[in-house]
């Protein structure tokens, strides 16, 4: 299963090799050309000679993770987060490090030895370390180098009723959507951007958009869903099972009204469920693309995911499929009616 394979690959920001080479293998026979740039974005082109507007579809390959910044004399690895990780989720997790996928654990002080007040406080990142079982610094250095990255070690699987669980669904689900769209054919030039370093500041999309210079860009994302009993309705942002979430505004972009109107019109016509992303927090690559050169109209379609940026995120397979459908219907609307204006 595509999502499972993608979820289980490790591609912490700036170390996306495994995801990139997997995707390259999946798409190389299906596109007109394929190339990588100085940052490692994987860019694929279909129908470059076709008339009509140039459209960019973007999904980032990277996931949040940890970087090894030091090795102490006992052979334990000091780590810092790459991207936004809530350090409270790190305690007692399994990770794998580097291309060799060396297993390690993030240790935690046993409850027996804690002072009562310690339990009330989150553990600081500076107190966390990864134990790979090395006897000392020398042995650890034979296996791990400073700058290596660690990703969560989690099996992805179907879960509950039409749900799916795994790490890095933000944003392997976006990559999976692009792979589905690649199977189809459209009447205008399409640029597929599998980008790097989104989680450390939208860096891959910034340079990809500059290079491609499209007329319109659509970004695919996994976004946070807060549909839990502990959250009030107006603080849930998105809910599983209600279809793709459309962003009208977030911290990085205010989406062009004509683009929003077209997305809604398309969903209604094709009877695809959708929901608004009912929050203005967070950001996606649409923000970076929007401000490229003289401005590029850009929007985001997201698949709601619970427990994002943790080792176990959950999405609805129906939402995933409906996001592909809405994207497809939107692209077809461009064939019929041109760009939204």
């Amino acid at each position: 299963m595509l999502l499972k394979e993608l979820s289980e690959l490790n591609g912490v920001s700036s170390r996306e090799e495994a995801v990139r080479s997997y995707l390259r293998g999946r798409i190389q026979d299906k596109v007109e050309s394929i190339y990588t740039d100085h940052l490692g974005n994987l860019l694929a082109v279909q129908g470059s000679k076709k008339p009509g507007p140039k459209i960019m579809l973007s999904a980032h390959m990277d996931e949040v993770g940890l970087m090894v910044v030091g090795i102490d004399s006992s052979g334990l690895l000091k780590i810092k987060p790459l991207g936004g990780i809530d350090e409270r989720v790190l305690l007692a997790k399994r990770v794998v490090i580097g291309e060799q996928r060396i297993p390690g654990v993030i240790g935690a002080k046993p409850i027996h030895l804690q002072e009562k007040e310690e339990r009330e406080k989150p553990v600081k990142l500076s107190a966390l370390f990864v134990d790979i079982g090395a006897r000392d610094q020398k042995e650890a250095e034979e296996m791990v180098q400073i700058g290596d990255v660690a990703a969560f070690d989690v099996k992805a699987e179907e879960f509950g009723d039409r749900l799916f669980k795994g790490k890095a669904l933000d944003n392997r689900v976006g990559c999976a959507i692009l792979l589905h769209l690649l199977e189809k054919e459209y009447a205008f030039p399409l640029y597929y951007a599998f980008t790097v370093q989104e989680e450390v500041g939208l860096r891959g999309a910034t340079v990809a958009a500059y290079g491609i210079n499209p007329d319109l860009a659509l970004v695919f994302e996994g976004t946070s869903a807060g549909d839990l009993p502990t959250a009030k309705k107006h603080q849930q942002s998105t809910r599983l099972g209600r279809g793709p979430a459309i962003t009208f505004m977030d911290r990085t972009v205010i989406v062009n009204q004509a683009l929003l109107d077209r997305l809604v019109e398309t969903a209604n016509e094709a009877q695809i469920p959708f929901q608004w992303r009912e929050a203005t927090t967070g950001g996606t690559e649409a923000g970076a693309i929007n401000l490229t050169r003289t401005g590029i109209i850009a929007g985001t379609l997201s698949v709601p995911c619970r427990y994002i940026h943790s080792p176990v995120s959950v999405l609805s397979l129906d939402d995933f499929e409906n996001t592909v459908k809405l994207a497809d219907a939107f692209l077809k609307s461009i064939e019929r009616k041109g760009l939204p204006a």
């Binding site: 107006h234 205010i254 009912e278 003289t294």
Partner: protein
């Protein structure tokens, strides 16, 4: 000019949804410029030819506001901020949507010492149900403060003087300029309040030789105010530094020289926070020497911003002086 300011400040056009104010400005300046166009983000760019050097003068059209994120079963609206809205200042205020719908800001019961955050506030548009509310607004609808323009004599009070006053100054300067010595790109920008976004793409397209933003700045002349050496009525402020820009020495000297030569009252501004469109303009492409003509303004980002018309007049004269000075 007060009538123009009244007209501009009475429009609700928050960041990203500037259509209405753009239409009014376009009509105001149509006969004073050689060319007008809009770019993809919605910046309104008016060109007046006069020389080889390109000078970008920018005033932002957008204002702070709110955007609806949720409509509950009783018809109450929840919202996010568009730009720097302080939740403490909203309770009891009124909002107006771009379609004219009016609402009142209310607040949930707070626990003792509980911090007031945006998520504790709601907007009441008088709807009795979600269904009734949806006939007027939807998730994604935007609104601004709803407050009248008041003429206090030399001083005026209105919402959105940040930065409709800059727009008015630029419009007035365009009407007054008789012998432009540079190619003037008077740009009414979008989305300044959410991160200087419009100015960035506008400047990329224009490739100016100089950038001058016209925008408001704070003052330190009110009771027990935060320290700031800027006073209402003491002239246009020539910015030296804020968080987005340290003014290029050439531009600072130019503005200061013109103020002295034309006997325009001015004061220097070192603002330990904030930013203007020039922050984005000066980092465009290979760099654009940039500065700011600031208008001292009390009660920034509240529904009652106050400026002094003498400072406004000074800013207009300084802008005209820049337009009529041959730059290289």
């Amino acid at each position: 000019m007060k009538e123009l300011i009244r007209k501009l400040t009475s429009i609700s056009s928050p960041s990203g949804r500037e259509e209405q104010v753009r239409a009014v400005i376009k009509e105001e300046i149509a006969s004073s410029v050689d060319e007008i166009y809009e770019d993809k983000l919605g910046n309104l760019i008016a060109v007046k030819h006069g020389g080889k050097t390109k000078v970008l003068l920018a005033a932002h059209m957008d204002e702070i506001g709110i955007i609806v994120t949720d409509i509950d079963e009783q018809g109450f609206l929840r919202f996010g901020n568009v730009g720097g809205i302080n939740p403490q200042r909203l309770v009891g205020q009124r909002a107006r949507f771009t379609n004219g719908t009016i609402g009142v800001f209310g607040v949930e019961k707070l626990e003792e010492n509980e911090k007031l955050t945006l998520s504790k506030l709601y907007l009441d548009i008088g709807a009795r149900s979600a269904e009734e509310a949806r006939q007027k607004v939807m998730v994604g609808s935007v609104a601004t403060y709803y407050h009248e323009f008041c003429d206090l004599g030399d001083r005026i009070v209105a919402k959105a003087l940040d930065d409709r006053i800059g727009c008015a100054i630029l419009i007035e300067a365009l009407k007054r300029v008789t012998k432009p010595q540079n190619d003037l790109y008077c740009t009414f920008t979008v989305q300044e309040e959410v991160g200087l976004r419009g100015a960035r793409t506008a400047a990329f397209g224009i490739e100016p030789d100089y950038g001058i933003a016209i925008d408001v700045t704070g003052t330190g002349d009110t009771p027990e105010a935060e320290r700031l050496a800027i006073k209402l009525g003491h002239g246009a402020a020539i910015k030296v530094k804020d968080n987005s820009l340290i003014t290029h020495p050439k531009v600072k000297d130019l503005l200061t020289g013109l103020a002295v030569k034309n006997k325009i009252p001015y004061q220097f501004e070192v603002l330990p926070f904030g930013g203007t469109d020039s922050g984005a303009i000066h980092l465009t492409k290979e760099g654009v020497p940039s500065g700011v003509i600031s208008i001292p303004c009390r009660y920034l980002h509240t529904p009652s911003e106050m400026v002094d018309m003498n400072d406004v007049e000074a800013a207009v004269r300084l802008a005209v002086a820049v337009m009529e000075t041959k730059l290289d």
